[in-house]
């Protein structure tokens, strides 16, 4: 069941939105978590790198990138977090529970790419 709250409203009255005002991904989009290895503070656990999942909802409001914030960078520069859902069997080859068992997690926009 999709909830509506965290999804931004579609623009009304033909208002043209500024770049990045609309989320890059919407619920149901297939995504992949990037395989990056930043040094220092990161908020994407190792087990998630390179894994495929589906966007479950767009988190509102926009927020600062916690990783940059950890170093005092980009203060006030806000972007989007997405709550994504990754199947346990995608994370672990030998996972033996229900096929629909999943891991849900919020990930900042600069860690996500579209997966076909």
């Amino acid at each position: 069941m999709q909830r509506t709250f965290f999804e931004p409203k579609a623009s009304e009255n033909d208002v043209v939105l500024y770049t990045d005002e609309e989320p890059s991904f919407k619920p149901g989009d297939h995504i992949r978590v990037l395989t990056r290895t930043p040094v220092g503070h990161y908020r994407v656990p190792q087990y998630l790198r390179g894994k495929r999942g589906v966007v479950e909802r767009v988190i509102a409001p926009k927020a600062v990138d916690n990783e940059a914030e950890g170093f005092g960078h980009d203060a006030g520069d806000k972007g989007r977090y997405y709550r994504i859902s990754v199947l346990m069997r995608e994370l672990w080859n030998d996972y033996s529970g229900n096929e629909q068992d999943a891991l849900n997690i919020e990930v900042y926009q600069n860690w996500l790419e579209t997966a076909g």
């Binding site: 656990p45 988190i59 529970g97 229900n98 068992d101 849900n104 919020e106």
Partner: protein, 222 residues
């Protein structure tokens, strides 16, 4: 250390010996660093000692009883339940005046007959503190944090919770801006319960999602 003592008469004696509460080890590296930073901040006038004390008082004032009230209200009031699921923070603030002093959002995860939710923070100890207070120790240490994403059904079984094979288990790893609360299933046989009686059944662990709400807590209803 097996040192015990008995309170001297005239002190607030509670009639049994127990280990003295005292600091016996030298403070560690991070403890010293925290003290040094805190003293510098106070010395430079950026914060006052009273503000730290006050914040500790606020932290200690929040307990799972708050979360239990929210859950019980959601069980008896479907309109509130929907508002809670749509925007957890807003619903808690509007309905109960629960302030989210740490400026986190709240997503409430509703258990259903086909989906069971549980919460972990693999990277640290993110927890809905404004609503439940401080997290339990087991929530903060490595075994729960690492195993809950690797073999969650086994971990839940160790809590005595056996999730049926035909129920999907959704584990939420809490890592950044948002905190999570599990809205457990209302147990059968509670149709005649008052909201207050329902709240008394809801425990901290049920709102983390490691156990269901059962009638076993009924004795504690006064």
């Amino acid at each position: 250390m097996e040192h015990t003592h008995i309170h001297a008469e005239g002190e607030e004696s509670h009639g049994h010996p127990h280990a003295a509460i005292e600091q016996t080890e030298a403070p560690g590296y991070y403890e010293i660093m925290e003290t040094a930073v805190r003293e510098l901040l106070i010395e430079k006038g950026l914060i006052k000692a009273g503000e730290i004390r006050r914040q500790l008082e606020v932290l200690d004032s929040r307990t799972p009883a708050l979360g239990a009230k929210v859950v019980a209200r959601a069980w008896v009031d479907s309109d509130f339940r929907q508002r809670l699921l749509d925007n957890g923070r807003k619903a808690c603030e509007e309905e109960f005046g629960i302030s989210f002093y740490d400026d986190t959002e709240l997503i409430v995860l509703e258990n259903t007959p086909t989906v069971h939710n549980a919460i972990v923070c693999t990277l640290c100890s993110c927890y809905p503190r404004p609503l439940l207070g401080l997290p339990p120790d087991w929530y903060k240490i490595a075994p729960y944090r690492s195993r809950m994403v690797r073999e969650p059904r086994k971990v839940l079984a160790e809590f005595g919770t056996h999730i049926p094979d035909d129920v999907a288990l959704h584990v939420t790893d809490s890592t950044a801006q948002v905190r999570f609360l599990v809205l457990p299933l209302r147990p059968a046989g509670t149709e005649s319960f008052t909201e207050q009686q329902l709240a008394a059944l809801v425990t901290r662990d049920a709102m983390i999602g490691v156990i269901p709400v059962t009638l076993e807590n009924q004795e504690s209803v006064s």
